[in-house]
Symmetry: C2
């Protein structure tokens, strides 16, 4: 039970699109991920997903609209809703979601990461 | 499903020690709370609790030690562990915990808040 300094942990992450586990509580994971470029449209059947931006900004695409999520903002994407994060520049995102959540949801491709390392 | 700007929401909170619900996902609540002064020692029987500082700093007291949580840092207090937040100046904290969590845990006193408003 030690505190976590978010910026220090992110500074050590060298790869984009590879979420790292920063904490676990109540069956949920707090994950840190750096994103750049266009992710893949996907949804999570049983998991709501929270995206909190700690550095930079990104655009969350939905099938019928999009929303820019700026530093100091978050969005919760409910289960079943298709979404695709897009980042023009590197963005640092804190994810909050059930420990069972797969990054690409119902889609499996080269972006899928099954084994997550600790932040 | 709209994004939340953390600072804007906090700016509208006028009372300390009254957590407000900012989001709900997977049976968990994201709560915003402003603290000042000394809270009460308590624990949560079945809930782990995450404290993320978005403005200011506070000291988390445990029975045998304490830890300062600075802006941009978080700590997870596991279920069953007695803790007491203490803030010399106003601090803005994002809480992440099960929707069932009572702010004063096993203790009931004048600081207990049962009905939470939305942020």
């Amino acid at each position: 039970m030690s505190k976590v300094n978010i910026a220090e942990k992110f500074a050590k992450i060298t790869e984009c699109r590879k979420p790292r586990i920063a904490a676990e509580l109540n069956g949920q994971h707090v994950k840190f991920v750096k994103l750049i470029g266009e992710f893949v449209f996907h949804h999570h059947e049983h998991e709501d997903e929270m995206f909190l931006v700690v550095k930079g900004r990104f655009r969350m695409d939905f099938r019928d609209r999009h929303e820019w999520i700026e530093e100091g903002e978050f969005i919760v994407v409910p289960r079943g809703v298709e979404h695709r994060p897009v980042a023009e520049k590197e963005v640092w995102i804190v994810l909050f979601e059930p420990a069972t959540t797969l990054n690409t949801g119902n889609v499996e491709n080269e972006m899928t990461v099954r084994e997550l390392e600790r932040a």
